[in-house]
């Protein structure tokens, strides 16, 4: 049994097919990144894995439990989401925002209990957010904000975390910091990560496995290095790419034609 099982998944919006017959199994404690050009269906795929979209055909299971049979609260206890463009509610403190991740446990009619508070404390500390806890979420910088959104997902204490372009809008330094932070959480907590990333170099450096998606279909699925160096990658992007080895890391360089 895998942490995430996607079985012959097709997702449609009206008559348009966004994801077509995708089968994917992500083992527990591994990091799988979905890459592909704009419009490939990456966001649709990960949103379906997070339970936000319904499958037209096929199924998604988390740790052997089909998503379609789960209530909202059970789903939120099994899979957490870091969206591409999180809504930041003005006036809310960082502490309150991160604690939203515990709603699936204490419910909508009771305040967070002692266990919820202790989990929030622990995550705030691990992600160096303790000093910001009383601040209005709107006053944070982009990097701090993204850490806060990750913290909210981590306090959900799920086995699987889904991230849709989690480093959008961050500078290089903060992109690297964010992914390193996530990597250390994966190592510490045995998290399973399913992410989408546009940056192929970073995708190759952090993921155990890459899934190349194009027009809703899986074109290639394999070890990060293999997918990065494949001919299919350049074909999907319809451009010339070079992969350069820098201190053992594959760096993907687009070449002007």
């Amino acid at each position: 049994m895998s942490a995430v099982d996607v079985e012959a998944l097709t997702v449609k919006a009206g008559s348009k097919t966004l994801v077509s017959n995708v089968t994917l199994a992500v083992e527990a404690g591994t990091w799988c990144t979905v890459v592909g050009p704009n419009g490939a269906g990456k966001t649709t795929l990960v949103e379906t894995i997070a339970g936000l979209r319904k499958a037209s055909h096929g199924s998604v299971s988390i740790s052997g439990h089909p998503l379609a049979e789960m209530h909202e609260r059970e789903r939120a206890q099994r899979v957490a989401l870091v969206p591409q463009h999180p809504v930041i509610p003005s006036g809310m403190s960082v502490d309150d925002y991160v604690a939203l991740g515990r709603v699936a446990y204490h419910g909508l009619f009771r305040p967070p209990g002692a266990n919820d508070r202790s989990i929030v404390e622990s995550v705030l500390e691990r992600l160096s957010l303790v000093d910001f806890r009383e601040r209005d979420v709107m006053t944070l910088s982009g990097g701090e904000r993204q850490r806060m959104v990750l913290a909210r997902a981590l306090v959900q204490s799920t086995a699987v975390i889904v991230l849709d372009e989690p480093i959008t809008g961050l500078d290089m330094r903060h992109q690297m910091d964010m992914l390193e932070l996530l990597k250390s959480e994966v190592a510490q907590c045995g998290l399973t990560v399913v992410a989408t990333l546009h940056d192929l170099t970073l995708a190759g450096q952090f993921a155990d496995r890459l899934v190349l998606l194009d027009r809703g279909e899986v074109v290639l699925d394999g070890a990060a290095g293999d997918v990065i160096r494949s001919d299919e990658l350049a074909q999907c992007y319809a451009m010339k790419l070079r992969v350069v080895d820098v201190d053992g890391a594959d760096v993907v360089v687009p070449v002007r034609q």
């Binding site: 339970g51 936000l52 809504v87 003005s90 809310m92 939203l100 699936a104 959900q156």
Partner: protein
């Protein structure tokens, strides 16, 4: 709480017939077994059949309209939302006009006015939901637009009816539209709306934590385990039902539902766990206070309550707005 207590005492004590404050308080205590009353039977009737029911109706109306406005602002994430957003006002207006101009030749006021106003209000909200509710998957924009369309249609029908009626009827419709607690003599209207209003207020206040979570948007709320569409339906239904019950008895009292939650938000921040219960208290106190002004300033005539709520509320709101940093909804 102090403001609420002051508004209650003011609502009982202030009026064209002067009755001493301590004598009224003594009379209140005598009803629960402490001491004895010094009021004459006429004074007792003024207090218990005129001022007290009117004051209690003011408390209920203010609390319901304010909490419904706050709830709508949270569920629609729209600072301009008020309890009349989905057509309650226009539906109630058409129903009341129907009764007042006696279209059915037998649906005479005052018996039929609250009933038809309530039926009109609920029919309008139901129509809005049937038109716009199906698109709730894609957000609440379509529902709001459906409310605008239904309200326009019903308002035009009401205007047509008004135009066809006599000058006397037009005046009475106009007075009803401006809202008043004057019809709340005796305890009948209060007991009529009390069960609806208490349940609806309780539902809205209980939804505070859910509305806080929903401030991160529909998709993220769902990913956090909130059944967004179910919660939205329940709180919209409770707000609309409570508002319809109040409007059917007191007419269209404006301003309370939109301004009171904003004033509370400016004072205590953006959490609906604080905004909604405080809107109940502040709305209740505010409306009783406004009604006390409305019925005493030009006594024995009365000012329209909606005029007073705006005249009193707007400067207070502007004052707080200028003293505090504005906060988003």
């Amino acid at each position: 709480m102090v403001a609420l207590a002051a508004a209650i005492v003011g609502g009982l004590v202030i009026g064209p017939v002067s009755i001493g404050t301590w004598r009224i308080i003594g009379d209140v205590f005598s009803h629960v077994g402490f001491g004895h009353t010094t009021l004459t039977s006429t004074q007792s009737t003024i207090i218990w059949q005129l001022r007290a029911p009117r004051m209690v109706m003011g408390l209920l109306a203010g609390a319901m309209l304010a909490v419904a406005g706050g709830t709508y602002q949270g569920v629609f994430r729209n600072p301009l939302a008020d309890p009349y957003l989905l057509g309650v006002a226009s539906g109630a207006g058409l129903g009341a006009t129907f009764a007042i101009v006696d279209v059915g030749h037998g649906v005479s006021t005052p018996t039929w006015t609250p009933l038809l106003a309530f039926v009109g209000a609920m029919a309008a909200v139901t129509a809005t939901w049937l038109i716009g509710g199906r698109s709730m998957r894609t957000g609440v924009g379509t529902l709001i637009l459906a409310g605008v369309a239904v309200a326009s249609l019903l308002t035009s029908a009401q205007t047509f009816l008004q135009q066809q009626s006599s000058a006397g009827s037009i005046t009475r419709v106009y007075i009803w539209l401006l809202g008043s607690l004057a019809s709340s003599t005796g305890w009948g209207p209060v007991t009529l709306v009390l069960p609806y209003v208490l349940v609806c207020i309780a539902v809205c206040v209980a939804a505070g934590r859910a509305l806080d979570v929903m401030s991160v948007g529909e998709d993220e709320s769902r990913s956090l385990g909130v059944p967004v569409r179910r919660i939205r339906f329940i709180v919209i239904a409770a707000s609309s039902l409570g508002t319809a019950a109040i409007v059917s008895v007191v007419g269209l009292i404006g301003f309370v539902g939109i301004i009171v939650p904003h004033i509370v938000r400016l004072l205590v921040g953006t959490s609906y766990r604080r905004i909604l219960p405080l809107s109940v208290l502040f709305g209740a106190a505010f409306l009783v206070f406004a009604d006390t002004i409305a019925r005493t300033v030009i006594a024995p005539s009365e000012l329209p309550l909606g005029v007073v709520t705006a005249l009193v509320g707007a400067p207070v709101f502007v004052l707080i707005l200028s003293l505090r940093r504005p906060v988003a909804v």
